[in-house]
Amino acid sequence: MADIAAPIAMPTSRQHVEDRRASVRTEPLGVRIAIIGIAIGFLGLFIVLPLVTVFIQAFSKGATAYFSALSDPDAISAIRLTLLIAAISVAVNLVFGVIAAWAITKFEFPGKTFLITLIDLPFSVSPVVSGLVFVLLFGAQGIFGSWLMENDWKIIFAVPGIVLATVFVTFPFVARELIPLMQEQGTSEEEAAVSLGASGLSTFMRVTLPNIKWGLIYGVLLCNARAMGEFGAVSVVSGHIRGETNTMPLHIEILYNEYQFVAAFAVASLLAFLAIVTLIVKTVVEARMAKETE
C-alpha cells in the first residue's frame, strides 16, 4: 500500500514545502526585485564599472601603447620591486604568522589576550602611521638613525624600509586566518601524535600543517594581494626614487600625476588582474576548506 501511495503523495508534500517556504518570504515580489536590484546596481556601479574602466583606459590607445607602457624600464623596475617585496613579506609573515597562531592557540601564557589584540593593530591603524613609525625609528632623525648612518645602513628611502612597512601592514592576514582555525581544532591531535612517539617537528609537519593547510593558503593569498597593493605605508618610507624604490602602486600614482593615463592604467591593469586571480584562487580554496571541514 505504502509503495503505491508514495508517488501520489510526493507532489502534494513537496507542494506543501514550497508553500511553507514561500510564506517565510513575506516580502511582496516588487520589494524583492527592488532589493536585489539595488544590491546588483550598487555592485555594478561601484565595483564592476571601475574595474572595467581600468582595462578600457589601459587599452584606449591600443595594445602597442599598452605593452610599451609595461616594457618601460621604470615600469619593469617597479614590477620587479613589487614582486620582491611581496615575496619577502609573504615569507616573513608566513613564518611569524604560523608561530604567533601556534603560540596563541596551543599554549597558555600571561598576556595572551593582549597579544591577540596587538596582532590586529596593523588593521586598525592608518597605513600612513605605519609608514611614519618606521621613519621615526630608522630615518635620519630617527632613534636608530645616526647609528645606521655611521654603519652605512640604509633602511628608509630604500628597499629594507619598504619591506618593513609592508610586513607590518600585512602581518595580521596569516595569523588572523589561522587563530580561529587552530582554536577550533584544539590540541588533541597533537597530543595523540606525541603520545605515539612523534617529535615536535614531526608533529607539526605531519599533523598540524596538513590540518591548517587551506587556511594557510588563504591567508597567504590575502597577504600577498595586500603586499603588492599597499600604497600608504610604502609611500611614506619609499622616497619615490624612480627605478629604485618605486613599487607598482607608487609608479601608477606618479604616471597618473604626470597625465600619462594609458601608462598609469596599463600598470594598474596588472594589479587589477592580480585581484581577479586572487579572487578566483580564493573561491577555489574556500570550496576546498568547506569540503575538508565537512
Binding site: 603520545s195 605515539l196 612517539g197 617529535s199 614531526s202 575538508e292
Partner: protein
C-alpha cells in the same frame, strides 16, 4: 607494567584537581577510574600519560620515575574521548603513524603487516582506506584503539573512550574491550563517569570524588561494601535517612526499631541502604512502618515509594518489592533493612 602513583597534587588556578592521590596499579590489570566530572580522574590519567605535570608527587612505571620523561618516551597508548584521529589520513595511515615516526625505522612491509594485523584485531580491516570522517563513532574509536596499540604500549590509557557513543554501541564496545584486554593483558587504565561501564569492565575500580580517592576495590566490593557515604551515594541507588548514633545504636523511627550503628561514632549520622536491601514484613513486627505512596514498574524493575515516620519527621523510602506481592497506594506495610551502613554525618557549618 606496574604503575605507582605517589602523593600527586595538582592545582588549576585556585581549583585543586588532585589532592595527595596515591594509587598502585598492578601489571596486566584493567583499572577503572570512576567519578563525577571534576573529580580529577582525567587529570590523573593525563599525568600518568605525561600530557600534564603534577605540582607535587611521583609516578613510577615498574619502579622507574617517569616524571622526568616526556610523553614521547613513556611508550603509553592514549585513547581520547573524541578519538583525536588524524583527519587528513586514512585509517591505515592513522594506525601506521606511531610506527612511522619512531626513531628506529620500521620497513614499510613490516608496517603493512603490523597495521593489517591490528585492524584485524579490532575488526575493521575492511575500512583501511577510508578517512575518519567516513566512519561511525564506534568505528572511529576502534581505529583510535588500534593506533594506540600499534606502538606496543606498556600502558594503555583510555579517557572516556565510549563517552561520545550511543548506549547500545557503548555496551558492545566495552564488552569487546574487556575481551581484547583478556587477550593482550596490557596494563590499562580506563577513565569513565559511567558506573555501569566501570563495574562491568574493570578488574578493580577506583572511585574518585573532589580530587581524592574514595575507595579502591573490585566491582563487587565497591557495590556491596562502599567505604564512604560518597561511594554509596555515587554507585547504584541509595536510600538515605538522617539518624543519631547513641550507645552504638541508631533509631530509625518512633516505633522503637533499634539497629546496630555498625561502628559509626556517636553523634549525627546517616543511614544508607539500597532499595533492594529492604524486606517487606508484616505490620506486627517492630520494624519500619510506612504507607505506600506510589507503585512504579519499568521493565524488570519494581519500586515502591513508602512514606515513613522517621525520627526527624516524614521521609520517603524507595524500595523494591517481590513478584506476587501486589501493593496498592495507601497500603500500610512494614519494612526491614536486611543490609545497610551508617556513616557519620559531616558537620554542617
Amino acid at each position: 607494567m606496574n604503575i605507582d602513583v605517589k602523593d600527586i597534587t595538582k592545582q588549576f588556578g585556585s581549583f585543586s584537581a588532585l589532592k595527595n592521590v596515591s594509587l598502585d596499579i598492578k601489571s596486566g590489570e584493567l583499572m577503572a577510574l570512576l567519578g563525577p566530572s571534576g573529580s580529577g580522574k582525567t587529570t590523573l590519567l593525563r599525568i600518568i600519560a605525561g600530557l600534564e605535570w603534577p605540582d607535587a608527587g611521583q609516578v613510577f612505571f615498574d619502579g622507574r620515575d617517569v616524571l622526568s620523561m616526556t610523553v614521547r618516551s613513556r611508550n603509553v597508548g592514549f585513547v581520547f574521548q573524541h578519538y583525536a584521529l588524524f583527519k587528513h589520513m586514512s585509517v591505515f595511515d592513522n594506525v601506521a603513524f606511531g610506527l612511522r615516526v619512531r626513531k628506529e625505522k620500521v620497513s614499510e612491509a613490516d608496517i603493512k603487516a603490523r597495521v593489517d594485523k591490528l585492524l584485524d584485531l579490532v575488526h575493521i580491516a575492511w575500512l583501511a582506506d577510508r578517512y575518519p570522517s567516513q566512519l561511525s563513532g564506534g568505528q572511529r574509536q576502534r581505529v583510535a584503539l588500534a593506533r594506540a596499540l600499534a606502538i606496543e604500549p606498556s600502558v594503555l590509557l583510555l579517557d572516556e573512550p565510549f563517552g561520545a557513543l550511543d548506549s547500545k554501541v557503548r555496551k558492545d564496545l566495552r564488552r569487546w574491550l574487556r575481551r581484547l584486554h583478556d587477550e593482550l593483558h596490557v596494563t590499562s587504565i580506563l577513565v569513565t563517569h559511567d558506573q555501569e561501564e566501570a563495574l562491568e569492565v574493570a578488574d578493580r575500580v577506583v572511585v574518585m570524588g573532589n580530587g581524592q580517592i574514595e575507595q579502591v576495590g573490585t566491582p563487587a566490593e565497591i557495590y556491596d561494601d562502599p567505604a564512604t557515604a560518597f561511594v554509596h551515594d555515587f554507585i547504584g541507588e541509595t536510600v538515605m535517612l538522617p539518624v543519631h548514633v547513641q550507645s552504638g545504636a541508631i533509631e530509625l523511627n518512633s516505633h522503637g526499631l533499634k539497629l546496630d550503628a555498625r561502628g559509626a561514632p556517636e553523634g549525627p549520622a546517616n543511614f544508607y541502604a539500597r532499595p533492594d536491601d529492604f524486606r517487606i514484613t508484616s505490620l506486627n513486627d517492630t520494624h519500619l512502618r510506612g504507607r505506600v505512596k506510589g507503585v512504579r514498574r519499568f521493565g524488570s524493575i519494581r519500586r515502591l515509594d513508602v512514606e515513613i515516620d522517621s525520627k526527624n519527621g516524614v521521609a520517603m523510602i524507595e524500595t523494591s518489592f517481590p513478584t506476587g506481592f501486589e501493593p496498592t497506594v495507601g497500603d500500610e506495610i512494614g519494612l526491614y533493612p536486611e543490609r545497610y551502613r551508617v556513616f557519620s554525618a559531616p558537620h554542617k557549618n
